[in-house]
């Protein structure tokens, strides 16, 4: 907090002198430096290692998907008669088209793999336990949304593989209890896979789910920053040696470096 105030004072002085510091100007109006300092320079527990980067890696994979997806949308046509031709055009004619399409295509698999590695890290390190259960739940919703992205994206090239894989996928949805048949009808927008199906998958793929994913990633990161990360389980074994290891909600983020949870510096 005091840092923000200092920054603000600094900014004001600079403004008086006549030279305008853009970062200071912004900070004076948003207080962003306090937030960023808290987020980027937060304490992490001892033993933090490379496994803790899997979440950031997943986030990075999502950013790749978002960026390449936006640019693919500039050439792609979500029409049953033109979709395949537009993908062929992207791959064969557009400058770097195959590269951008390739990043999106392989990046999707990468994102799913990274999510599962991240999930495995969280599970085996016991990082889903109190007070981080909600973050696990949000993560599972993100996993489901990502699978939906992979499923809806698979139809878009509209080649034979897309077509039949989507038919099979929709019919698997249809085998769900009670609502299954209605769900597959909803996905197809009718009894047969057709023009509306492709438009629908496109809308779900690039408008509906990405918005939800971005919002939930925000919530996911907020909770990571608020609750802090856990120490690896092999450091937990040393806990009895530490005096008064009381489990506390804010233990991970204790500024005094109190040793509960093996947190602090």
């Amino acid at each position: 907090m005091s840092q923000a105030v200092e920054k603000a004072k600094e900014g004001a002085e600079l403004a008086k002198e006549g030279s305008v510091d853009v970062a200071g100007w912004l900070d004076q109006r948003t207080g962003a430096s306090g937030f960023l300092t808290g987020m980027l320079f937060r304490n992490v527990p001892k033993g933090t290692n490379w496994f803790y980067t899997l979440g950031s890696a997943t986030l990075f994979a999502f950013v790749i998907q978002a960026v390449t997806g936006v640019f693919l949308a500039m050439y792609y046509t979500p029409s049953v008669t033109d979709a395949y031709a537009s993908i062929t055009h992207i791959n064969n004619d557009v400058f770097l088209g195959q590269f951008v399409h390739g990043m999106h295509k392989w990046g999707s698999s990468l994102m799913v793999i990274l999510i599962f590695l991240h999930m495995g890290r969280t599970f085996f390190f016991g990082a889903y336990k109190y007070p981080r259960e909600l973050n696990w739940v949000i993560g599972v919703v993100l996993l489901i949304l990502t699978m939906t992205m992979a499923f809806t994206g698979y139809l878009l090239p509209f080649d034979q593989r897309s077509f039949w894989a989507s038919i099979v996928g929709i019919n698997i949805n249809g085998t769900g209890p009670v609502l299954g048949p209605y769900l597959s009808d909803f996905l197809r927008a009718g009894p047969e896979l057709g023009a509306t199906t492709l438009a629908r998958f496109y809308a779900i793929h690039m408008l509906l789910i990405p918005g939800a994913i971005i919002a939930l990633i925000g919530a996911h990161l907020y909770l990571v920053v608020k609750l802090g990360t856990t120490a690896p389980p092999w450091l937990r074994a040393e806990r009895p040696k530490v005096a008064a290891p009381v489990e506390r909600l804010d233990a991970g983020a204790d500024e005094n470096g109190a040793p509960g949870n093996g947190a602090g510096r």
């Binding site: 038919i167 209605y182 009894p191």
Partner: protein
């Protein structure tokens, strides 16, 4: 209730109403196709002499209009067989949509069976399931003869005894209790008598 509470409740109710006024039409817009029945269409697939009773002939016809090749589907058509206690003046059109998950099955003449490439579903000459994961016989299309041409019409499903029921999606059971557990959806056509 205090005045402040009353206003809070009224404000929230108005907000909810405004939200519903946006969300409900949008949801209705998205789910409407579930309740729409397509147009019943019949398409000639060849003169009656093209079809015999002891083997199938693959025909391609349009099932959904206006979307080019994606709207086309394949059926295997033959004449009714006396040996199988069928009416020889009628034609049988078997859908290639596997009843497991919807992959396209192929009629293998040497075996006299329909075989699905995806997960190993096998059906006999009449389309009854004889192996693999499918849950019911292959669907059929209604057929009729007009001007010496065999025409195929709407799809319908059959029970394990080949009794016609309303069209089902792959993976759904037919006959018995299943007709009540999963009532036919409004978008399907009534089965032929």
């Amino acid at each position: 209730m205090t005045r402040r509470n009353a206003f809070a409740v009224a404000g929230q109710a108005l907000g909810g109403l405004a939200g519903a006024a946006i969300v409900l039409p949008a949801v209705g817009f998205a789910v409407a196709p579930i309740f729409e029945r397509g147009k019943e269409r019949w398409e000639p697939v060849g003169p009656v002499d093209d079809f015999v009773e002891d083997t199938y002939r693959a025909v391609v016809f349009t099932e959904t209009e206006g979307i080019g090749d994606a709207g086309k589907t394949t059926a295997y058509v033959r004449r009714g067989s006396r040996d199988l206690e069928e009416d020889p003046s009628r034609y049988v059109a078997i859908s290639t949509r596997c009843t497991h998950l919807g992959c396209p099955v192929r009629f293998v003449d040497a075996a006299g069976n329909f075989i699905c490439p995806c997960h190993g579903g096998v059906y006999d000459f009449q389309g009854k399931r004889i192996g693999g994961p499918p849950v019911r016989p292959l669907d059929q299309f209604q057929t009729r003869v007009r001007n010496g041409q065999v025409e195929v019409g709407p799809r319908y499903s059959v029970t394990s005894q080949l009794d016609p029921v309303r069209a089902r999606d792959p993976g759904e059971f037919t006959g018995g209790i299943w007709e009540y557990l999963y009532p036919p959806r409004p978008s399907t056509f009534p089965p032929p008598k």
